[in-house]
């Protein structure tokens, strides 16, 4: 197949699936095949310009347009974006530097609480003057601040555990995340910092600084409709920056030093790599990604409490990295996307479908065995509730058949 044929094929596929998703806005399958177009873009060998153009039009035009018609699609896309960013951050620590971190969600939580506390009336509880919530304009300041705070906590965690490796490090990071969660749960007294298990709300959304511009060009949309799109583009930009930063670091002496530490710490230090500094840098960079995404998460959710940052969340992100292929940027993206789609769309879709069958009361006729009324399908049988089980099964199968992940880091291609 020639490259031009491939290019036409890709264009056709994108157009067809987009049309399908447009015509059947409720169909999970149609939207899934539309999402698959991005994966196809990555795999198929077509001219780079065509791929870039198609990718950009899917991400910047088609998906937002579909999301405009069905808000649920945008919600999914935002969730995917958040997890992609988290997976990319964890990929630096686990995939590049080779340090097993089971408490990654702690940094995410720290970012989220940073904005939650000051972007809501919560901070009035310990800072007198009634200055809070801060105006939405502070959102971007806090986004930058969260990068610094995330990096700092990353270093703080990194310092004491630098000498630990493998299992020991994993246990300590796990403990760290639990400590952070326990703090959020209990810092409602003596001074009410986090409002404890009741959580914080309402958290300010980012400023709609472009609204006057939209009105000026004659588009008048209620902000409730605007926010999902706004968040979508915010997370898209954020993921874009994260990918760029990761790529640049990966192809510099920093990235090479990280991988060298992963491969052989002693040899790395004998080759002139300052192991301590590089490990701390890895921790800091990974943590700052997570923390920045946390700010966005908090403002999107409006309400957060410690339940959003459990150990399972850390494991989920780790599983995304492992499934996709440790140490590989495309792998982390694919892993995060795949797992999020599985959780949010596939299993839920399957549940809805089964519910539909149950209510239709159709008879399932099996030759020679008699018939079975689908309305008798036990109510417990609901795939969405088996999320963890399905997930575990996939992980086990992966470890048996493809332990390096779906998209492991490729050897450098010849230029």
């Amino acid at each position: 197949m020639s490259a031009t044929q491939a290019a036409f094929g890709l264009c056709g596929y994108v157009a067809a699936t987009c049309l399908l998703a447009f015509l059947f806005p409720q169909s999970v399958l149609a939207f899934l095949s539309f999402q698959a177009s991005l994966l196809l873009l990555y795999y198929v060998d077509a001219p780079r310009k065509v791929k870039l153009f198609l990718g950009a039009s899917v991400l910047f035009v088609l998906l937002p347009a579909l999301g405009w018609l069905n808000g649920y699609y945008l919600e999914i896309a935002i969730q995917i974006g958040i997890f992609v960013a988290l997976a990319l951050g964890l990929n630096i620590v686990v995939g590049f530097v080779g340090l097993l971190n089971l408490g990654f969600v702690a940094f995410y939580a720290i970012g989220a609480y940073l904005w939650a506390i000051f972007g809501s009336p919560q901070a009035n509880a310990f800072i007198p003057g009634g200055w809070f919530p801060l105006s939405p304009n502070w959102f971007f300041v806090f986004l930058l601040l969260s990068i610094a705070v995330g990096a700092l906590t990353g270093i703080l965690l990194g310092l004491p555990v630098l000498r630990l490796r493998g299992d020991y490090l994993a246990i300590v990071t796990l403990g760290f995340a639990e400590v952070v969660r326990a703090l959020m749960n209990n810092l409602d007294k003596p001074i009410n910092l986090t409002n404890g298990p009741r959580g914080i709300s309402p958290i300010a959304k980012p400023p709609l600084f472009f609204e006057p511009l939209l009105q000026f060009i004659g588009i008048d949309v209620p902000s409730a409709m605007l926010y999902p799109l706004y968040f979508y583009f915010l997370i898209l930009i954020m993921v874009g920056i994260i990918i760029l930063v990761t790529r640049r670091l990966e192809n510099s002496r920093v990235g090479r030093a990280w991988k060298a530490i992963r491969e052989d710490e002693v040899a790395a230090s004998a080759m002139g790599v300052p192991v301590v500094r590089m490990k701390l840098l890895g921790f800091a960079v990974g943590a700052s990604f997570a923390s920045a995404v946390g700010v966005l998460f908090a403002s999107k959710q409006v309400f957060i409490n410690p339940e959003s940052f459990t150990f399972m969340e850390s494991i989920g992100v780790l599983a995304m990295v492992i499934l996709g292929g440790m140490g590989s940027v495309p792998g982390a993206i694919l892993g995060a996307t795949g797992v999020t789609i599985l959780n949010l769309q596939l299993l839920k879709g399957l549940s809805l479908w089964l519910n539909g069958l149950r209510q239709s009361g159709a008879e399932l006729v099996i030759p020679f065995l008699g018939s079975y009324s689908l309305s008798q399908l036990p109510a417990q049988f609901e795939p969405a509730k088996y999320e963890r089980m399905v997930f575990g099964l996939i992980l086990i199968l992966m470890m048996i058949f493809r332990p390096q992940g779906v998209l492991p880091p490729a050897q450098e291609r010849k230029k």
Binding site: V245, R248, L249, N251, S252, R253, V254, R256, A257, K259, A260, E263, D264, V266, A267, A268, S269, A270, M271, G272, V273, P274, V275, L281, P409, Q411, E412, R413, K414
Partner: protein
């Protein structure tokens, strides 16, 4: 002038005296060998020199600077780099990347330059790649530069270790059994390479070697260790005739005395 001076360097592990007050000088422009039976403390001496171990006693002076207590990466930056006896490459990195890691201490770009991908950073990366390619060429690995280190043959892996050590632009190169497991012609090729390195890439080489043909063929000076002690030093011919060395290696005298007739 001596490039490297060791004065009474000692190191023990529990009850084992791995190095007992070892002193030696290494002159600029020379190749010296460190020989001795297994367990004599040769690799321990290398590990002490490169900062993996801290000596219990003694002084290590390199270019008029003390190295005692310095971290391995600082010592590499100061101008000593090494290869390992049991090959320790970065196996899931390409040949090119392995060599580039060796250059870490010579590349000075900071984080902002990397993140912004400044011109200076890109030029430096390009120059680094060109230099890495030169070293790949020198060690006969051309055509392999994009393969993972773990996929190289044993001999190529040994040569890659040398290329990686040279990438750090060392003054002093420490080679731990560089020809182990190589056949005669491969070993001879390496010997010529080592001689070429002197003056052009490094100021001196210190090597641990069991292959006596290599040792006698290229060394200006030979130092002999036994049970952590330096028992002889000198020109290869002198050392070869030294009775203590013969005894250390063959143990013949004592063995003959106590052997039942």
């Amino acid at each position: 002038m001596a490039l490297l001076e060791l004065h009474g360097v000692s190191k023990h592990f529990g009850g084992l005296q791995a190095l007992a007050s070892v002193s030696l000088d290494l002159d600029e422009g020379s190749i010296a060998s460190l020989i001795g039976p297994n367990g004599a403390g040769k690799t321990t001496l290398f590990n002490t020199l490169t900062g993996l171990y801290r000596p219990d006693k003694g002084e290590i002076i390199f270019q008029e600077r003390s190295l005692v207590g310095m971290k391995p990466d600082k010592i590499t930056a100061a101008g000593i780099s090494r290869t390992f006896q049991n090959i320790r490459l970065f196996s899931q990195m390409t040949v090119m990347e392995n060599v580039l890691v060796g250059m870490h201490s010579r590349l000075a770009t900071g984080l902002p330059a990397i993140l912004l991908s400044t011109n200076r950073f890109r030029l430096q990366e390009k120059a680094a790649r060109a230099r890495a390619m030169e070293l790949v060429d020198l060690t006969g690995l051309r055509g392999r530069e994009n393969e993972w280190a773990q996929h190289l043959s044993y001999g190529d892996q040994r040569r890659l270790e040398i290329a990686r050590a040279l990438a750090a632009e060392p003054q002093l190169l420490l080679l731990d059994e560089p020809t182990a497991g190589m056949n005669t012609s491969e070993a001879r090729l390496l010997m010529t390479l080592f001689k070429e390195l002197i003056g052009k890439y490094v100021k001196a080489i210190l090597l641990i070697e069991h292959n006596m043909r290599v040792v006698m063929g290229i060394s200006d000076r030979v130092h002999v260790l036994d049970y952590g002690e330096k028992i002889a030093e000198g020109h290869p011919d002198e050392v070869r005739r030294n009775p203590r060395v013969i005894e250390a290696y063959l143990g013949q005298a004592s063995w003959a005395q106590h052997a039942p007739s």
